[in-house]
Symmetry: C2
Subunit: 421 residues, 2 copies
Amino acid sequence: MTTLNPDLANTHAARALLRCKTLSAISQMQGGIHREYLSKEHQACNKIVGQWMNDADMQTWQDEVGNLWGSLRSSNPNAKRLIIGSHLDTVPNAGAYDGILGVMLAIELAALAKQLNLDLPFHLDVVGFCDEEGTRFATTLIGSKALANEFNPSWLAITDTQGMSMRQAMLDFGLQPDDFAKAALNPDEILAYWEAHIEQGPVLESVDQALGVVTAIAGAKRAMITLTGHSGHAGTTPMNLRQDSVTAAAELVIAIEKLANDCKNGEVATVGQVHVRPGATNVIAGKTTISLDARAQSDNDLADLISNIESTAEKIAKQRNLTIQWQWTHAAEAVQCDSYIQALFSQACTLNQENSPFLASGAGHDAMAIAPICPIGMLFIRSPGGISHHPAEAVIDEDVTKALNVMFSALVLQANKSSKD
Amino acid sequence: MTTLNPDLANTHAARALLRCKTLSAISQMQGGIHREYLSKEHQACNKIVGQWMNDADMQTWQDEVGNLWGSLRSSNPNAKRLIIGSHLDTVPNAGAYDGILGVMLAIELAALAKQLNLDLPFHLDVVGFCDEEGTRFATTLIGSKALANEFNPSWLAITDTQGMSMRQAMLDFGLQPDDFAKAALNPDEILAYWEAHIEQGPVLESVDQALGVVTAIAGAKRAMITLTGHSGHAGTTPMNLRQDSVTAAAELVIAIEKLANDCKNGEVATVGQVHVRPGATNVIAGKTTISLDARAQSDNDLADLISNIESTAEKIAKQRNLTIQWQWTHAAEAVQCDSYIQALFSQACTLNQENSPFLASGAGHDAMAIAPICPIGMLFIRSPGGISHHPAEAVIDEDVTKALNVMFSALVLQANKSSKD
C-alpha cells in the first residue's frame, strides 16, 4: 500500500485545511493573523496543536526554545527519527498557510500512519517551529537553528519593539533561557527532515502544476549601493555637464536585471528600494541609493552574479564620473536539498499520477537551518497568484490533497527503504 | 564714449557687490538669507534700495504690488522707458546674487549715466521685482506678471504656510490689493526690458567665459509618471515572471536621458524624484513614480521631446506588461529674447574685448513675464560651480566689472540708436 484511498486523503486534507483556519483565529492582531515568538498566542497555538498531536496518538512536548513536538514512536525504540514539520509563527497580517499547512499535513500523516497501522522503522516526529519569520526579535529561524545547535546566546539580550528582551520573554513563556542548548538534536539519531510548504511564488502556477520538488534553498546577498554625483539645476545644467546619480542608478538597475536574466540556473536579482537625494523635480539628484537582493541555488552561481554586478556597477560609475559605495547587509549560503529525498518525492508524485517539476526555493525556510545536521527535503504546494505574507495567501484544496497523497507515498517508500537498510 | 574708464567701472562694480552683501543681512532667517514677498524684510529692503536709487538722483516709488522703482528721467518727457532690473526677493537659505546683483548693476548704470551726464533719449527705469521666486505663495513672478497685466486676482486668496492670505499680507504691507491692475504698464511707453542675472548653471564656466548673451528662456513641462506592475517576492519570483515597476522606470529614465542627449538645441530632461512602493529590499516593487522635468528653447523642440518621451514610455510599459499614468503638473512656454537686443549686447561685448557666447536660460526669470509687453534681453554672468539657491552661490568680482562695462556700452549704443530713430 503506497497510495492513499481517495476518500481518506480528502478527509485528512480537509481537516488539515480546517485546522489552518482554526489557527488563524489565534492572533495577536485585530482583523488579521499575527502570531509571534513567545507571545500568548504562541502558547495557545502550541496547546491546541499539541492536543491535535495527542489525538493522533503522538507523544508531545515543548522543547527548551518553544518548538512544539509530537512523536509517533516506532516499535523499534532505537529507530532513527524522521522529522516532518514547518513553523507555526506568522508575520503580521499573514495568510493562513505559510508554515502552518506543513505542520498540519505532518500531523495528518502521523494520524494516517496510526490509523493504517503502518509499521514505521523510524520514529515519525512532527515539529512545529516556534520562530521562522523572525518578526519579533531581529533574527530568523530561531526554532530550527536551536535544533542544529546554532542558537546564539547573545540573542537573549535582543529586545523587541516594546523593550522586552528575548530572555525575559522566554522566562514569561515558562522556558529556561539558559537551557537553549538542550533543544539541540543529536545528528546521529536523525534520518532526515521533510517539509511541505506553500511555494510563495508563481512558478508552479505558471506551469500549471500543484506540487514541486525543491532542489535547493537559494543563497542570498543583500547590499545598499550608493552612487554619488553632483546636484545641479534641472534647467540650467546641459546634459553633457551632468553627474546625475538617478540616471547612473537607472543604468545599474537595468544592468542588474540583464545580468540576472542572462544567468542559467534561475538566479534572481531585485532592486526594491530607491532613495534619491535631494529628490526634487527641478534638481539633478547628487546621490541615489538602491538596494540589491540577489539569490542563486548555488554559492558559486551567486558569487558569479554578484561579481558581475559589482564590475558592471564600477564601470557605470567610472563612465559617468560618479563614485560608488557598497554596504553589504546580509549574506546566506545556498542549501542543497538531499538528492535521495528529491528522487523519493519525485517517485511519490509518479505513484500518484502527479508531475514533479523541480524548482528552487527563493525564500528561506526552517529546512535551511536543519541542513547541517541531516538530509533535508522540501515539497512545494502551488501558491495562487504567487501570494504569501498577505491575507490573500491561498491554496487550492485539491492541491493540498495531492500534497498529502505524495507525502504519504513518500513515507511508505521511505519506510520500505529504511526496513531494508 | 561707448566704454567706461576702468577705475570707474571697478568702483561701481565693487559698490554693486558691496550692496549685495549689505542686503544679505536683511533676512527673515537666522544664519542664512531669506527674504520673501510682503515680509518686513521685503519692506526694509525696498527702503534701503530706494535710498540708493535716490542717491543716484532717481525718482523712486513702490507700485501697487510691491515692486520698487527708480527712474532717471530723460530730458524728453515723452521719451519711452528702458526698464532694467531683476528681483529683490530670495529663496530660503539663498545666495547673495540671484536677482539682487541685476538690480544693483542697474542702479550703478543709472548712477554712471547721471555722473557722466549721458543725455539719454529714454527714461532709464530701474525695477526691483517683489516676487520672482514664489516661495511664500504658490505662484512665481508675481511682480513682473503684474507689470504685464497678468496678476490674477484669485491669487489674493492664496494663503502662506502660516495661513496668511496674500490679500491680508498686502494690506499689512500697506498696499491696496484690489489696485493690483494699476501696476500694469502701458506697452506703448516701453522701449525694452533688460536684465543681468547670474547664470545659475555651469555653461559659462565650462567655456571659461565671464558673460553670455541669452537667446531664449526655456519652456518647461513637468509630469509625474507612474508605472504599475505587480509586487512579488524577490526570492521566489523568477526573472521572466516579473512585472517590476523599478526596472521599467529605470529603462524609462535611461530613455529620457538618451532622448534629451539626442536633441540638437540644448534641450534637457531630468528625473529628480523616484518613489518606489512598497519599497522593501526583498519585494519586487509594484508601483514606481518618477518625476519628469523637460525644457527647451523653443516650444516646438519641447513638444518634440515630450512626444518622444511619451511614445517611448508607452512602448516600455507595453513591452513589460505594465500600465502607465501621466500627471502633468506644470507647463511654461519658451520665451525668445529679442534679436536686436542680443546683437546689441554682443556688440557691447566686442567693444569691451569680451567674447559673447550665446546661451539659453534653463531657469525662469522675470524677463519671461515681461516679454508679452516689450522686447526683452538678458545678460548672464558666470556662476562658479554653477551653484545658485545656496549660500555657496558666488560671482567673480572681475566678471561683475565686465558685466557693468558691457551693460554701460549697451546703454550708450541703445541711446545712440534711439536718438537716430
